[in-house]
Symmetry: C2
Subunit: 259 residues, 2 copies
Amino acid sequence: MPSFAPAAGRDVPAQPPPTGVRPCCDGSRSPRPTCSACVARGLTICRALPPEELVEMEQLSTVIRIEAGATLFDQGDEAGSVYNLTAGTIRLSKTLADGRRQITGFVLPGDFIGLSSRATHPYSAEAIGPCQLCRFNAATLGRMADRLPRLEHELFDRARDELDAAHDQMLLLGRKSPREKVASFLLELAHRCERWGQRPDRVSLDMTRTDIADYLGLTIETVSRTLTRMKRDGMIALPSSNEIVFLRLDAVRTLAEGS
Amino acid sequence: MPSFAPAAGRDVPAQPPPTGVRPCCDGSRSPRPTCSACVARGLTICRALPPEELVEMEQLSTVIRIEAGATLFDQGDEAGSVYNLTAGTIRLSKTLADGRRQITGFVLPGDFIGLSSRATHPYSAEAIGPCQLCRFNAATLGRMADRLPRLEHELFDRARDELDAAHDQMLLLGRKSPREKVASFLLELAHRCERWGQRPDRVSLDMTRTDIADYLGLTIETVSRTLTRMKRDGMIALPSSNEIVFLRLDAVRTLAEGS
DNA sequence: GTTCGGCATTGATCCCAGTCAAGTTGTGAT
DNA sequence: ATCACAACTTGACTGGGATCAATGCCGAAC
């Protein structure tokens, strides 16, 4: 429940999210999908828009696909475009001069990229797997938001939600132990994937151990050892190195909140 | 320069900020100051408002003063009010069950408190010194923002700026060394205090070493040792334990960005 | 089938920040 | 002036995560 009253019309009924599978991108060159058929629509900023505004938005956007490992933009690039991710996973990262990297977030289908107000991107965005996005000219979308209060509200809400998440991540990075960090990360990912109707007791990890380490402020070895220990303790199972099953969800939750 | 185009009228000329001193609160019980005479006005969300809207805003707000150490609200409290800080310093913190604390930010005069969209405050807010604030009913301000695009824009911009700052802090917490953390912190504080015309080569610290440690994900001893070492290295001087002078600003900047 | 390369796991060692424990400084009250 | 208390500093020691290194695993290419 927002602390600011919702605008009239912001409660436009969202489409039910797709069920069963996380939207992914097979890299095929099929013709442009329409917004009304978008699998991610009920999760994107578009969910707040009535049909006529959705059409306008569709006309302003370009659907793009990028391959696994591709860079959407780099830290410092001019921020001319913003994006809606409709399939795949993207990592946002900041890098120090000597190469130390901090991943500030993982972008999942339905998420918006480009809330920063700076003229240049303050972080890099790279595709973890093949991705599909809707690209908008930043200035054009900004003018549209000026005209459509529902859109501006939606973007504002995204910014506030991300800010809350960022504060949680600060607590994690500054004060949690490696075990608590990993447990929190797994739960966060599982929770976010429930949007597509995925089971809450398992997660599939698109990202590598290096990505996880750079997200949690750890090294790859510590992430690996921590997962091994959680498995040995009977909290989780690892059917494969990128599949996690929670065996004792309560224990993982307790751990994530600090013993 | 924002990546979204500014709304018409958002560029209402801001009052020049007060010069020379950081606004502080002496705790006296003087009558309510008017917005037009507010020392922090050029820095608050009010700066975007034309006179008639400012009057409306003034009627909706209550000026409150709280003493040093007082709690404005606690993590988990119902988020019924939001605030503009006009004098003093406030710390925002999140705490784990066993008492480990992470300070997510220091609020300085001109800053807005209450951007979260959650029904309950996700962090605590405590006065470091005596403070003066303008309190608004959250729902009322939300409705006002729905009517006044300039106000909504201003709040949105605050959220985006805070989000950028939060990402910087994630990089700091996850990947910087203690020396780099302390250097970054001092520069950040100095930069923010320049708004009141304070000299960029010095900072006065309202907060204790414990607060600094909890902001940087360190212990109080490490903060103290790090400052001592920076002093020994000739980068800074410590005229008193809460006064920092940059002797080699370039060296501090280099250190903060990662050697 | 073999080789190769990327990713993950595991082990051994090291070092830096945390912990514990005194001391010191500064301030306000009486 | 003295005391009390909080905040800061400094020293000695320790432990946990980083580092370095080796091995294992698996899919893709040929």
